[in-house]
């Protein structure tokens, strides 16, 4: 396969980060394709939970949303949302919450609510959805998002969900881990340098002493993404 896009690298890195995960709560947007790739590569036995009320999904196609009917057909269990939030998430059965985000700060706080003041928003974003409870109840949380000074801000305008449980952020430039209370760059994607990341980060960037380079997507990963999972570029646009 020739080359790869930053989005493809981000999705591949997101999928690889799920190696060893048993139960993943899949959030809205990009996590869906990363999870689909993980299920076909590093985490064949992963169990997928969706806030729409599905446990143990085996989607026969790439879901268009977290409420796609293909998530139900062939799943282990479909239930009301109250049961899912209470007996799976709040009960502590979720190993990993895998979320997207609009805005994120140095401390891992996530904002998906508003840009600007709450009562007079510059931009009204979707809001919490399940993010607030996922952040509090999943054993750990990963965020997958494109990185820029607009999205990586010193202090989020609104804390939709706290950074407390956020352990890893995977972007189109690299990877961050939560270390000593702040997000620290641990991996650079191939072809990206630290200055580029610094440029796209709205706070004084902390870089890990053991900074590593992500392995580029393999041909097999790219083929799965491009030919099997998302030939219509629903997520990879």
């Amino acid at each position: 396969m020739t080359g790869h896009s930053p989005t493809e690298m981000m999705v591949v890195a997101g999928a690889r980060a799920m190696a060893g995960t048993r139960v993943c709560f899949v959030g809205i947007g990009l996590p869906n394709i990363a999870v689909a790739l993980a299920q076909r590569t590093v985490a064949p036995a992963i169990e997928l939970i969706y806030e729409s009320g599905v446990y143990g999904a085996r989607p026969s196609r790439l879901p268009l949303s977290i409420g796609d009917p293909c998530l139900v057909t062939g799943a282990t269990a479909a239930m009301g949302m109250l049961e899912l939030f209470q007996y799976y998430l709040q009960r502590g059965l979720v190993d990993l919450g895998f979320l997207g985000a609009a805005q994120l700060d140095r401390y891992g706080n996530v904002n998906t609510t508003v840009i600007g003041p709450y009562d007079a928003p510059r931009t009204r974003l979707p809001g919490s959805g399940g993010a607030s409870e996922i952040a509090q109840n999943a054993r750990e949380v990963f965020v997958l998002m494109r990185q820029s000074r607009r999205s990586f801000v010193p202090r989020v305008d609104f804390v939709t969900s706290s950074g407390r449980g956020l352990s890893r952020v995977i972007t189109d430039l690299g990877e961050f881990a939560h270390r000593d209370g702040e997000l620290t760059l641990t991996h650079l994607h191939p072809g990206v340098d630290v200055d580029q990341v610094r440029e796209a980060t709205g706070w004084p960037l902390s870089v890990a002493a053991d900074l590593a380079e992500s392995a580029p997507p393999t041909d097999a990963e790219l083929r799965l993404l491009r030919e099997e999972l998302d030939p219509d570029r629903t997520y990879l646009r």
Binding site: S52, V72, M81, G127, S132, V159, S162
Partner: protein, 301 residues
């Protein structure tokens, strides 16, 4: 004894101006047909409740039926923003009251169970309680732990779409169940909109599948494909082209008004909407079969 009425009758009877209305369904079984009829009857000052104000609430807000929105996630799933709602929120024309999904589900559950509050683990270190004073805490009398609580939500009417119901409103749903059960039990009135109105024996043959009993249902509307462009598990798929196309319509108030004129005000009812949509629209939206299998309840005499 039959509760079967037309959608126009159901909306006229149970959705008065100023009412608190929940058209529930999490991506699945969203009663667009009911939303359109509310627009057709030009209701005003409604408080619309729903975890995920979807395209149907964007249409309703765009048509001017709402005064307030109670919600937890505001977007066109997989597409982007709901522009009519976003305009109304950003301009201050639409009041909002905001929770998380679990919080909204807990609110319906408290309403359904007649509880003064519902406890849940969420909102820790979140700014949501700062902007919504209804998010409070209670201290456990056992270990002293503080836990967040939400207040009951009791809609004046909850409207749900279902795969099947009998004429008394006994309702069965499969696939994603969302919070329709809780929203129905929480409400003063319930309207069930069904793909099929079946013989009571069909319901009674599988009592564990019953989601909502006729006991809490006021009206049953027979409305096949009434969830379009959302989906009905086993009946039809989501019409994703509609959701994608809605983005451009919703961005432009003039286009939105024209859309409402053509598809809602310009159609007498959902049958008219379906006629305009055309039979070809359903090509590719019909799934193959995947039957559940049966279980045996046993005949005990």
């Amino acid at each position: 004894m039959s509760k079967v009425v037309t959608m126009a009758e159901a909306v006229a009877a149970y959705v008065p101006d100023g009412a608190t209305v929940a058209i529930e369904g999490f991506t699945h079984l969203i009663s667009f047909a009911a939303g359109h009829e509310v627009i057709r009857q030009r209701r005003r000052d409604l408080t619309l409740c729903r975890l995920t104000p979807d395209v149907v609430y964007d249409q309703m807000v765009g048509a001017g039926v709402a005064r307030k929105l109670v919600f937890s996630w505001l977007g066109n799933p997989g597409v982007g923003s709901l522009h009519a709602i976003r305009r109304a929120v950003e301009s201050g024309a639409l009041e909002i009251e905001e929770y998380s999904h679990f919080g909204m589900v807990g609110r319906y559950a408290a309403g359904a169970a007649n509880l003064p509050f519902y406890p849940l683990r969420s909102y820790l270190d979140s700014d949501l309680p700062a902007v919504n004073p209804a998010l409070r805490t209670v201290r456990s009398p056992y270990d002293g732990e503080e836990i967040h609580v939400v207040p009951p939500l009791r809609p004046d009417v909850t409207i749900v779409h279902a795969q099947r119901a009998d004429r008394d409103g006994n309702t069965q749903v499969w696939g994603l169940l969302g919070c329709q059960k809780e929203a129905a039990f929480a409400a003063a009135h319930v309207v069930v909109v069904a793909e099929e109105v079946v013989d009571p024996q069909v319901i009674r043959a599988d009592p564990n599948r019953t989601l909502i009993p006729g006991l809490v249902v006021d009206a049953v509307v027979h409305c096949p494909r009434g969830a379009h462009p959302s989906f009905a598990q086993g009946h039809y798929d989501r019409d994703n082209a509609f959701y994608l196309a809605w983005d451009a319509v919703s961005r432009d108030p003039a286009r939105l008004a024209a859309w409402l004129d053509e598809w809602v005000y310009g159609t007498a009812d959902h049958a008219g909407y379906l006629d305009r949509l055309g039979a070809d629209r359903w090509t590719g939206l019909t799934p193959g079969p995947a039957r559940s299998g049966t279980v045996d309840y046993g005949d005990y005499r």
